[in-house]
Point group: C2
Chain length 220, copies 2
Amino acid sequence: MSEKSYHHGDLKNTLIQVGIKMLAEEGIEGFSLRKVAREAGVTHSAPYAHFADKQAMIAAISTDGYRKVYERINAVVEQFPNEPLRQFIETAWVYVSFGFDEPDHFKITFSGSVEREREYPALVEMTGKTFDTLRQLIIRCQEADLIDNGEPDLAAVTVWGFVHGFVHLIQESMVSHVVTNRYTKREMLILSLNHLLKTPLTKDPQDGSLLGSGIQTTQE
Amino acid sequence: MSEKSYHHGDLKNTLIQVGIKMLAEEGIEGFSLRKVAREAGVTHSAPYAHFADKQAMIAAISTDGYRKVYERINAVVEQFPNEPLRQFIETAWVYVSFGFDEPDHFKITFSGSVEREREYPALVEMTGKTFDTLRQLIIRCQEADLIDNGEPDLAAVTVWGFVHGFVHLIQESMVSHVVTNRYTKREMLILSLNHLLKTPLTKDPQDGSLLGSGIQTTQE
DNA sequence: TGATTAATCTTTACAATGTCTAGATTGTAT
DNA sequence: ATACAATCTAGACATTGTAAAGATTAATCA
């Protein structure tokens, strides 16, 4: 907010936000430290007071993406208490819609843009917390007899891999138009997730837009 | 093979192979056009006679990755005729083991390193052929009542997304050690794929290392 | 409070990279 | 054999990530 002072005041967060905006506008290929600094109104070396290098800045952007998804997931979990199925579907939907709405931020966050050599504590923490939330959800679904019993960690990996690959394929337009014309993304997601459920959801004969249990498929 | 001639002879393919080798040795972050050219023994501008730009070269490397997977999949399909279940499992295993054995070539090939703006005909063709093979396999599995009926394209997307996400999570070491210590990668894959089968495979009580139908899980 | 210290930002510099242009060399076709 | 097209080199340029040294300000402590 400070107009013209030598010290910016909140440069670190500004850089992260500018970086996210630039990702949305120009994509990953056009992403550069110097451009972010320029856009933030500082010199190209200013970021080095806050990030060790470009990778560290990318890690921070990734951490922010995790934080967003983590908060949204916790929101829908609280929104549908005692409805594990709905929690399950909506959690998946949070993940994939982040991928569709902010594809480049999603990629930075979840698609391995951060090198695994160095460890970034904040990022590791968010990864762990997100995975824990997912695992708890899985366990609740197992208790409600919605999905097969078994190692919750393994089931969590299955589910996460599932939705991640789903976003990826659609992002890379590897899905034939035959399919994308026939189904909405949400329908495809639910139909795919259906394979993981013990008793798959079926179309309500009266209201075709519902797949039982009041879960909307037409929402885009 | 030509030692010292002005014209290299087969520079285009040499560049692709050198590029793949460099990916395996130095990873994606260290990948550069100039380094590839240097390694191939030509000047930094020589590649521009064969590739429009760096993206085009990456697209060629991606195409080569698709070709490899495509050929290996067709090999295992022919190896187990009239055994759709085995074809299914081994096809998935081809995909994921490519990801584990050559992680960076895998990423270039399947993880969206190629920008979707320009179209690369050879790449588009390989993508299509690979997807077609998968779809045919799905249809055969459906006919054998192994997986649910329904739009084969959608099922193919589900399966592909599934295995892709699986590789991704393990590559990015997002899978907790609790799981990776207990199961081999192949076991995890089969246990995950199990969710897609109408009648899931179960452990053979006599031979614990088999999950019915003679499919090995211990193979690494 | 005032001096010292640490954090933050600028300036300058450098090597590496992707890409462009002009020209040299060589294979190919007429 | 000559012309042409393909292939490769040489050189140049802007951009990038990163490092070093110094300027400016905030924080700390006597």
